[in-house]
């Protein structure tokens, strides 16, 4: 059985599942629109939490929040369920497919057979859509993949019940109500979501937003002395991986947000957002420059401390630019 479902590839999994599920039910919404309306741009530094043996860092809010916020702002209702029983989790999915409901699932990536080996870590906040079942194989639309895939019942059970931080516990979700496109107040949704992102990034909390970036910038400076070069280099590699790899984050998210501002500018006829979109694109370029500079640490062996000082300064500058940017954006909405 295969439901009528179109797989669109996206840059980020949660945006992608949300936009693919909504498009499937007739609401034409792009990935950047989901990301922007879900206030997906974020930054939080969690030095007391270890991720891959390095200080925790996240460029996005908690899993599920992007779709959840976006749905609330548009008046969409989502049903979410978690399970303690693997059998019941599978039965619910099978019932959904019988009822013609393509379903979003939260999964762990480590046991996904179609993932490249270098990307298989115990990261539990990945999202996919199941849109059919043939024999005992599920048809999988993983929005970060170019093509669709298949997983056996056993393989799917394994990724739905992976363990560790943010364990999915069979988490399944799908929209149950979508308002008519014409009845949605896009302007209000867009303005509200932008305000939320501005408030997040400018939050008066030391570990969040631009303040969090500054805290990281100060920490980087001390890494080589405090932890030794080897550990500092490992921490830095994890930071860049979180930034540009695991669910994009740095440059990648800035570009998606720029695309959102561009689309929003046209949708609600606000030319100021278009100008700010261009500015955000430039900031995205600088995030990528930061990643390139960081990657040089592994090529040159000399002057390691100077390299960390330069990276710290770069990150400080990014924080300053983003602070100025989000203040302007806040005024524009």
């Amino acid at each position: 059985m295969q439901l009528d479902f179109t797989h669109h590839q996206t840059a980020h999994c949660e945006n992608g599942v949300a936009s693919n599920l909504l498009r499937n039910k007739g609401l034409n919404i792009s990935e950047p629109m989901v990301f922007g309306l879900g206030s997906g741009l974020f930054y939080v530094y969690l030095p007391f939490l270890r991720v891959s043996n390095a200080p925790g860092l996240s460029y996005r809010p908690m899993p599920g929040w992007i779709f959840g916020r976006m749905a609330r702002r548009l008046g969409i209702k989502i049903k979410r369920q978690k399970f303690s029983s693997k059998e019941r989790a599978q039965r619910q999915l099978d019932d959904n497919l019988k009822n013609n409901i393509p379903s979003g699932l939260q999964v762990g990536v480590y046991h996904l057979p179609y993932f490249p080996d270098d990307y298989r870590f115990h990261f539990n906040a990945h999202n996919i859509v199941v849109y059919g079942k043939e024999e005992n194989e599920y048809l999988i639309s993983d929005p970060t993949m170019e093509k669709v895939n298949r997983l056996t019942e056993k393989e799917l059970e394994k990724v739905r019940f992976s363990k560790g931080v943010l364990a999915p516990k069979g988490h399944i979700y799908y929209p149950t109500y979508i308002p008519e496109e014409e009845t949605i107040d896009w302007e209000q949704a867009i303005l509200k979501s932008i305000k939320k992102t501005c408030n997040d990034m400018l939050a008066p909390v030391p570990i969040i937003g631009v303040k969090g970036m500054r805290m990281v910038a100060r920490a980087i400076l001390k890494w080589p002395k405090k932890h030794g070069i080897a550990k500092a280099n490992y921490y830095l590699a994890q930071m860049v991986r979180m930034q540009e790899e695991i669910g994009t984050g740095g440059g990648g998210f800035r570009y998606i947000y720029s695309a959102f501002l561009q689309e929003a500018s046209k949708k609600i006829n606000n030319p100021r957002l278009l100008q700010l979109s261009e500015e955000m694109t430039e900031i995205g370029d600088l995030w990528r420059d930061f990643a390139v500079s960081a990657s040089r640490v592994y090529k040159k062996r000399s002057n390691q401390e100077n390299v960390y000082a330069a990276l710290s300064a770069d990150l400080m500058k990014l924080a300053d630019l983003e602070e100025a940017f989000f203040k302007k954006l806040k005024k524009a909405v």
């Binding site: 993932f115 270098d118 363990k163 490992y234 994890q238 790899e245 570009y255 370029d285 990657s295 592994y298």
Partner: protein
């Protein structure tokens, strides 16, 4: 970033045949999407991470050979796990898992207990028991 600048650096991401999607600007300054085969900067940090992990795995193997550790830590690292995660997968407390990493304790584990580890590591009990660090 312009569409023409989207990197095509043959990265780890295309190992299984899929490229990744970027948002980038076209000639008219409009956002569009483009596919990338990978990016040098990411390849470098990814390779560094894998090297560090491999060193840890090698060290754990050497520790088994020298009789300092049981094979548990070796297979744990091979599966990119840490003590906490392995404890969750096996259902044992973390301190017990760590204790099972002592060769003398490991030797006394029942096949039933070993089976739990073998299932998590997706190997047989024999493979687990017979790993000598080579």
């Amino acid at each position: 970033m312009k569409k023409s600048e989207v990197p095509q650096d043959d990265g780890r991401v295309i190992q299984k045949g899929s490229r990744e999607l970027y948002y980038a600007l076209d000639e008219n300054g409009e956002y569009t999407t483009a596919l990338s085969t990978g990016w040098e900067a990411k390849n470098i940090v990814q390779d560094h991470t894998m090297e560090v992990l491999q060193q840890e795995i090698n060290q754990a193997g050497a520790n088994v050979k020298a009789g300092r550790n049981s094979p548990i830590q070796y297979f744990m690292l091979l599966n990119r796990m840490d003590w906490g995660l392995l404890a969750q997968y096996t259902g044992y407390w973390k301190w017990r898992v760590k204790r099972h990493n002592k060769p003398e304790v490991f030797r006394k584990l029942s096949d039933k207990q070993l089976q739990k580890y073998a299932d998590v590591f997706e190997i047989t009990v024999e493979e687990l028991k017979n790993y000598k660090g080579d």
